[in-house]
Symmetry: C2
Subunit: 162 residues, 2 copies
DNA sequence: TTGACATAGTTTCAGATGAAACTACTTTTG
DNA sequence: CAAAAGTAGTTTCATCTGAAACTATGTCAA
């Protein structure tokens, strides 16, 4: 992949030339696909978990007790995915539930003991993976990358809305 | 989203705390989701194209005549997706084909006149979108971002393989 | 040659996905 | 308070996906 090349350059005709391989969204996709693939290796094979199940577990692991809606709000997943992930985690006995006195439509969820065991096995592996992913970058570069991603994401979100 | 926060920090217990919202792959997903969403708006509604159809068209648009395998090699899509995208584009008359004398298993593909019209409508919009996405960044920052994404992607790919 | 293996592209199958409809409960309004 | 409107969570339905099987053709080696 050639980072230095520009996406466009004008040929003889009126339409600018276009190279997918230099197109920013394409580079973003290649980047994300690789990062995502590295992470999924940690929860798919060893625990038979799917993408949304891991994300849901990650949210539950860091909070004492919360509803499905809280998970949706905290994770930028849609409620259908969260609902299914909860069903799957519950099916393995990884979630403990109790009634929500404030609202009978929902329940308060947390990781069960066995769920927490899985979580506490995964978390150090996730942290180690993150460190390996970013091992070639200095702390400054890591901060720069995160900040630039956030700025572009904000631009993209603004383009969608208005 | 808090960029300055670290993913991990140690609490009282042995397991490090973990915050999904600061986890690098999570940030990468949010970033990619927004960027990808901005792009898909350009080809989905106006032309009824799907993700893989746009990518296939983008590849075909920049090459004179190529086989499906060539598209696979150039795009990091899998051959099933490319096959289906070609079928869809062909169904709209956007692809012109001729026999491949060198190998009868494949055909040589290029955009038809009407396919090229769509392509030449989309390309300037894509370039404009890319510029808007990156408008807040200096040229230096854009180069930095692309380079850092590539380095992390390479690390991730290396982690998967070995 | 010709049989064994490899490759190009398509189809099948078994999930993954999300929008919309739906059920149950809650809040608001008249 | 009762009806209307809203919200939490689930299910349905209509794709979207990709791995694996499959068909047709090509290549290699004896």
């Amino acid at each position: 992949m050639d980072q230095s090349a520009d996406t466009k350059s004008h040929g003889a005709a009126g339409t600018p030339d276009f190279m997918l391989q230099a197109f920013f969204p394409y580079l973003a996709r290649v980047f994300y696909t690789h990062v995502s693939g590295a992470v999924s290796g940690l929860y798919e094979e060893p625990f038979g978990m799917k993408r949304y199940e891991w994300r849901t577990m990650a949210i539950l692991g860091q909070n004492p007790a919360m509803t499905a809606s809280d998970i949706v709000a905290a994770s930028s997943m849609d409620k259908v995915s969260v609902s299914r992930a909860i069903t799957a985690l519950r099916g393995r006995g990884w979630i403990a539930e109790r009634a929500n006195k404030a609202d009978a439509r929902s329940r308060l969820l947390r990781l069960s003991r066995s769920g927490r065991e899985v979580y506490e096995t995964l978390v150090p592996q996730m942290i180690a993976l993150e460190e390996k992913l970013l091992a070639d970058l200095s702390d400054t570069e890591i901060g720069t990358l995160k900040a630039l991603m956030a700025r572009v994401a904000a631009s993209a979100a603004a383009l969608r809305d208005g």
